[in-house]
């Protein structure tokens, strides 16, 4: 049966299984070339193995919660959405969250995901207390910052290629409300946006949305959005009695694939103009509920279908601090002149990070979506080379199309990772379509 990631590109004929207990899972892993798949939210082929894709949906139970410290122990297939549903009403929120809540614990570990607070709190690794992994030998190994450290470090950000995450303990953060105080700043261009980020290191959350269709002086025109967890006293009066709860919203859903002409330069331009206008109108302070603040796209079920039958690809790179301004200019000007406007272009300042194979480094990360076609594929290759020229690298959880050559140029750490995997006999045991494509 064919399988793809959230971007619906590429589609790969894959042998799949969904074991229901540990013994069945172990037997499946011993077949080799295994990759674990959670909720399929990696954009490309990270969680697809033509020979042996293992769905982890039956390993989705919460095991223990320490109400004093806020530590949750859960199986790898538990959804972040379920963690929030269960623990936000008790005053706990994920310490680190990506832009969708429909990801699994195992997936967040494998991709070492980041959120809008990376500049302050780092990546997901920083809230993982320990992991239990099923390794190539078919054994369960517990690893943490103090136990089996090498395995722990490679597993975080290792894209599932060191073993299958079975269980993990993560640290939640105490909050006193379900609301975020959001402050929106308007940046006239990319340098201004960077300036605003550099002045906002104290903000808990920060992110910018960029209108990529602007050229010249207003290239990089953007809305920089800062956020803080609101105190219980600050929530809207009608919710003050239950500050940790918000009423459920109606979900929009995309019923079918949009024809590909729906997304063209004109409609994207109109969308961007509207978004910018709306942001300007709402500049200054606003109270936003957690769901709308962290997961705006989750409100539109199946939004990946708006890109039509051929699917879409996301480009996400990070550029080191010193070269960020220049590199971002080069990227934005390439995008604007290709006229391939992206619905969502997101810019984020990363803090310092020292890790074996995780994506973040101190600098700026830019993420954009493109519908898949010949022009955008060529554009993305061009963006790849601009990134490499400026010392940047790529987020594998988003990648679906990079060439092996480009990846190897961007990633001097790949060699060490491969030798580590060889030494642990993990190379034959675990593999994905992506690791095969990139020569990992």
């Amino acid at each position: 049966m064919t399988l793809s990631g959230w971007g619906r590109y590429p589609r790969i004929d894959a042998k799949q299984s969904a074991p229901r207990n540990f013994e069945a899972l172990r037997a499946q892993v011993l077949q080799g070339n295994a990759i674990a798949r959670g909720n399929g939210r990696a954009y490309g082929d990270s969680a697809v193995s033509a020979q042996n894709t293992i769905h982890m949906k039956h390993f989705n139970r919460m095991l223990a919660f320490d109400t004093e410290r806020g530590q949750l122990v859960a199986e790898a297939g538990v959804l972040l959405a379920d963690i929030i549903d269960a623990f936000l009403p008790r005053g706990w929120f994920p310490s680190i969250t990506p832009g969708t809540k429909f990801v699994t614990l195992g997936g967040m570990i494998a991709a070492d995901v980041h959120g809008k607070n990376h500049h302050k709190d780092g990546s997901f690794a920083n809230c993982v207390n320990w992991i239990e992994l099923l390794t190539s030998a078919g054994r369960i190994e517990r690893c943490s910052a103090t136990e089996n450290t090498e395995l722990f470090e490679w597993t975080l950000g290792g894209m599932g290629l060191t073993g299958i995450v079975l269980r993990a303990a993560i640290q939640l953060r105490p909050v006193s409300s379900a609301w975020i105080e959001q402050r929106t700043l308007v940046a006239e261009n990319i340098s201004h946006a960077i300036e605003l980020f550099e002045q906002s290191h104290d903000a808990t959350y920060s992110v910018a949305w960029i209108d990529c269709l602007q050229q010249g002086k207003s290239m990089g025109r953007s809305l920089v959005m800062l956020g803080e967890h609101a105190e219980a006293a600050a929530v809207p009066s009608q919710y003050r009695k239950t500050p940790l709860q918000i009423s459920l919203k109606r979900k929009l859903s995309i019923p079918a694939e949009f024809p590909s002409w729906v997304l063209n330069s004109l409609s994207v331009r109109a969308f961007n103009a509207l978004y910018y206008w709306n942001g300007q109108r709402n500049r200054g302070q606003q109270l936003v509920d957690w769901d709308s603040y962290f997961y705006p796209l989750d409100a539109i079920q199946g939004w990946n279908k708006i890109y039509g039958r051929r699917g879409f690809a996301q480009f996400q790179c990070v550029l080191p601090l010193q070269q960020a301004d220049e590199g971002l200019r080069a990227l934005l000007s390439a995008i604007a002149s290709a006229g391939a406007g992206s619905f969502l272009a997101v810019l984020k300042r990363f803090g310092a990070q020292d890790s074996r194979f995780s994506f973040p480094m101190e600098g700026y990360t830019l993420a954009l979506d493109f519908p898949v076609n010949r022009n955008t594929l060529a554009l993305m290759e061009h963006l790849d080379s601009i990134t490499v020229q400026h010392g940047g690298r790529f987020y594998l959880a988003k990648d679906s199309r990079m060439s092996r050559d480009m990846f190897q140029q961007s990633e001097p750490r790949a060699q060490d990772y491969s030798s580590y995997r060889n030494s642990e006999a993990a190379s034959a045991a675990f593999g994905s379509a992506q690791s095969e494509r990139l020569g990992l």
Binding site: R20, R61, M62, L63, A64, F65, E75, D82, A86
Partner: protein
């Protein structure tokens, strides 16, 4: 604050587990009853953590009907609601050749479920309140060559539920017959099911939960099945016997 207690019979099935989650979401305490009940400890911790309700585990063998009285006796509390999701499909071809295999399917889908619900019905009747839910099947609506052993047992169970409902209607005890069509479960794993006719266990659980709240009598999980079964029931026998369904 607990809304009451729900007993889930045959708790290791996917539909049963989904029902446990659904009732726990609604604030009910849960009694999970199944064979090898201690294999459900992680499910117990999961449900307790997610919904902050109390879950207890109880050893229960639907086929051991002699034990059913004692089983109900030793429950920590007589539940307000009982959901019976016990069932076993078997292989039709094997059921045709092997009477032992056929008998197991019949006992699992009719004798066992009817026996435990009969015991519970009498307790609920004495108390003057309660709700019994039987997960039967559209397969019991008319016997077909491809699964009539399973279908006949479900037909018996459906008739039993109907009679029980009739008997208890004026006694404050409500009985619900649930007729799922295809459901994505362990039982149907590997079968090629048409997506439009197939429900997820969570959908079945939701139907059960709503039927209890609204005191419905007979519920189809997907409305399309009501239409399909109406057609199937109305095909004249001389035509029906020639069909391959």
């Amino acid at each position: 604050m607990s809304k009451g207690t729900v007993l889930i019979l045959g708790a290791r099935s996917d539909i049963a587990m989904a029902a446990a989650h659904r009732f726990a979401t609604g604030g009910y305490d849960i009694q999970l009853a199944a064979r090898k009940a201690d294999s459900l400890t992680t499910d117990k911790s999961d449900i307790e953590l997610r919904y902050q309700v109390t879950v207890t585990l109880h050893e229960f063998d639907a086929l051991d009907i002699a034990s059913h009285n004692a089983f109900v006796e030793q429950l920590p509390a007589l539940p307000e609601i009982a959901v019976c999701a016990v069932g076993y499909m078997g292989e039709q071809s094997e059921n045709e050749r092997d009477v032992q295999a056929a008998s197991l399917v019949m006992r699992s889908n009719y004798e066992g479920p009817a026996s435990i619900l009969a015991v519970l019905a009498n307790r609920f009747d004495e108390r003057g309140s309660g709700c019994l839910v039987g997960i039967s099947s559209v397969a019991g609506e008319r016997g077909r060559a491809t699964n009539y052993v399973y279908g006949s047992a479900k037909a018996g169970f459906t008739a039993f539920l109907s009679g029980l409902r009739n008997r208890l209607a004026k006694r404050g005890v409500h009985v619900i017959t649930v007729l799922p069509g295809f459901v994505t479960t362990k039982m149907t794993e590997g079968m090629d099911l048409p997506a439009k006719l197939t429900a997820q266990p969570a959908k079945v659980a939701n139907t059960v939960f709503n039927a209890v709240q609204k005191k419905q009598n007979i519920v189809y999980v997907k409305p399309i099945w009501q239409l399909i079964m109406m057609i199937i029931r109305n095909i004249p026998e001389r035509v029906f016997k020639e069909l391959r369904l």
